[in-house]
């Protein structure tokens, strides 16, 4: 049974978290626990990353927070406004131009056309797609489509942003630049972010905290704080403290992963 709570007991912060899972279990009918005892909370100005092997349930956690799935047990605090989402497929509407895609949520919320112009323009500028407003998705590269999806998620200034491996399909150089861009946006907008990834270096670069998950059942084994301030520079990747944190996360991941034969595809 799940209940929506407006305050989480025992929180020592001044303000309530923007999103939280308390003691959340999830099992699918006919199978064992997919998730067990998940405790997560994220405040504004925090970016929590979930790292874990394939199939450990990271995406399920995100979907529960988004409201696309229900938890089998435990409490879920969902943001009041719909969260912004960026998934692995940019999922832009191919029949709409960049502008029309970015304004989608304002349109769905019933914002009149003339009131949409400014926020949409700002969002497009923010992600650096200025000259491509009237382009169609098929005319954009993969990285540009991802930036358009980011603009779409940001345009309503949501309190919470959810990311499900958005940069997985992009080459390494572009990936690093998109990470830096996201860090810059985070520094300015100060949303509460939940980010899913496979990549340890991406996790450490982007987050204020990294949670390592193990598979079957999905559990959080370790949480690592990443104290660097945002926006973060590319040079940070070679900082010794950064590297040490990467090692910690990586070790925790390996410890929880089991032997080669147990790992899913």
């Amino acid at each position: 049974m799940t209940t929506l709570v407006s305050e989480i007991a025992g929180v020592s912060e001044m303000e309530a978290p923007a999103l939280a899972l308390v003691g959340v279990h999830k099992s699918w009918p006919g199978s064992t626990h997919a998730l067990q005892g998940i405790d997560i909370e994220v405040h504004r100005g925090e970016l929590l990353t979930l790292v874990g092997p394939s199939g450990c349930g990271k995406s399920t956690v995100l979907r529960i927070v988004a409201g696309l799935e229900d938890a089998t047990e435990g409490d879920v605090l969902r943001p009041l406004d719909p969260p912004g989402c960026v998934f692995q497929q940019a999922s832009l509407m191919p029949w709409r131009s960049v502008v029309r895609n970015v304004e989608l949520f304002l349109e769905l919320d019933g914002v009149p056309t003339r009131d949409r112009i400014e926020p949409v323009d700002r969002a497009i500028e923010l992600v650096g797609l200025d000259g491509f407003r009237d382009h169609l998705p098929h005319q954009l590269s993969g990285g540009m489509q991802m930036r358009a999806a980011l603009a779409r998620a940001l345009v309503t200034h949501p309190e919470v942003l959810l990311f499900d491996e958005p940069f997985a399909a992009v080459d390494e150089l572009l990936r690093e630049r998109l990470q830096e861009e996201l860090s810059r946006l985070f520094a300015v907008q100060r949303f509460a972010g939940l980010f899913i990834t496979h990549s340890v270096s991406e996790a450490v670069f982007l987050s204020t905290r990294v949670a390592v998950m193990t598979a079957r059942p999905g559990r959080i084994s370790t949480v690592v704080d990443v104290p660097f301030s945002h926006p973060r520079s590319p040079e940070l990747r070679f900082d010794p403290e950064f590297v040490a944190l990467t090692r910690r996360v990586s070790t925790a991941l390996r410890d929880g992963a089991g032997d080669l034969n147990e790992m899913s595809s």
């Binding site: 988004a66 409201g67 998934f87 497929q89 999922s91 509407m93 769905l108 919320d109 098929h138």
Partner: protein, 258 residues
């Protein structure tokens, strides 16, 4: 020049083969079986009586086919939308859609004549029956083709069914709808011609005219009428294709040139 040469060359081969069949393959007594191309053109374009008969009939048939297609597409899309709402609706209606597909239309044309007479509306009904199934199946397929990621994004904001349909499912279905239209337009033209052929009474179209010429052994008029009906089919098909390109060509792969 490169664009025009291949089609011209193929057309030349076809016309050449036609001449060969008319003059080489057939001896003079049997030449009426396949009049030469220039004789067909002469009758179809320059003989006043044949010309007005043939082209008048083509227009009459064309109107029937167009109206039949219009009704079939609107009805087909509406039924597909209903079927896309719930699996139980789909399961209930699909068998009847298949019945529509498999019933030999020609077998029920006499029935339609008895029940609704042999006039314009009966002819349109035949076209609708024949053209409906591809519109239903293609539209349903298209409605379901919207990516799950986009559906999730809309679910996040609790949009109504109608909004989801208008903003996501229908635009995503457009390529499939036009595929259905391309199939249905040919069927509708055939339905109009064949229905006309079998009705024998009521307002005449090119189908009946072809039969009349056949009975009179007026082979030049017959072939002119056959060519004219092919042109009707080709024109209808090209028209639907052009409209499709304007609507979806901008964003869909099918509009891109290699």
């Amino acid at each position: 020049m490169r664009n025009v040469l291949p089609p011209l060359a193929v057309a030349g081969v076809v016309v050449g083969a036609w001449y060969w069949a008319s003059y080489v393959l057939l001896d003079p007594q049997r030449r009426f079986l396949l009049p030469a191309p220039h004789e067909v053109v002469q009758t179809g374009l320059f003989d006043a009586q044949a010309r007005s008969e043939i082209w008048g009939a083509v227009v009459a048939t064309g109107v029937v086919a167009a109206l039949g297609l219009l009704i079939a597409s609107l009805l087909g899309v509406a039924i597909a939308i209903a079927m896309a709402q719930a699996r139980w609706v789909e399961r209930s209606l699909y068998p009847w859609a298949i019945v529509l597909q498999t019933i030999p239309i020609l077998a029920i044309v006499p029935l339609i004549g008895f029940w609704w007479g042999f006039g314009f509306s009966s002819r349109v009904l035949v076209c609708v029956l024949i053209a409906l199934f591809p519109m239903i199946t293609n539209t349903l397929f298209g409605l379901r083709s919207a990516p799950a990621g986009l559906h999730d994004l809309l679910s996040l904001r609790n949009v109504s069914r109608l909004t989801r349909l208008r903003k996501l499912e229908l635009p995503a279905a457009m390529p499939a709808i036009f595929t259905g239209l391309r199939i249905s337009v040919g069927l509708s033209v055939i339905g109009a011609i064949v229905g006309d052929f079998f009705f024998r009474q009521g307002s005449p179209g090119i189908g009946r005219l072809i039969d009349t010429y056949r009975a009179k052994l007026a082979s030049e008029e017959l072939f002119a009428a056959i060519v004219a009906s092919s042109l009707l089919g080709i024109a209808a098909f090209l028209l639907v294709g052009m409209i499709g390109n304007r609507v979806i060509g901008r964003w869909h792969e099918s509009g891109r040139r290699p």
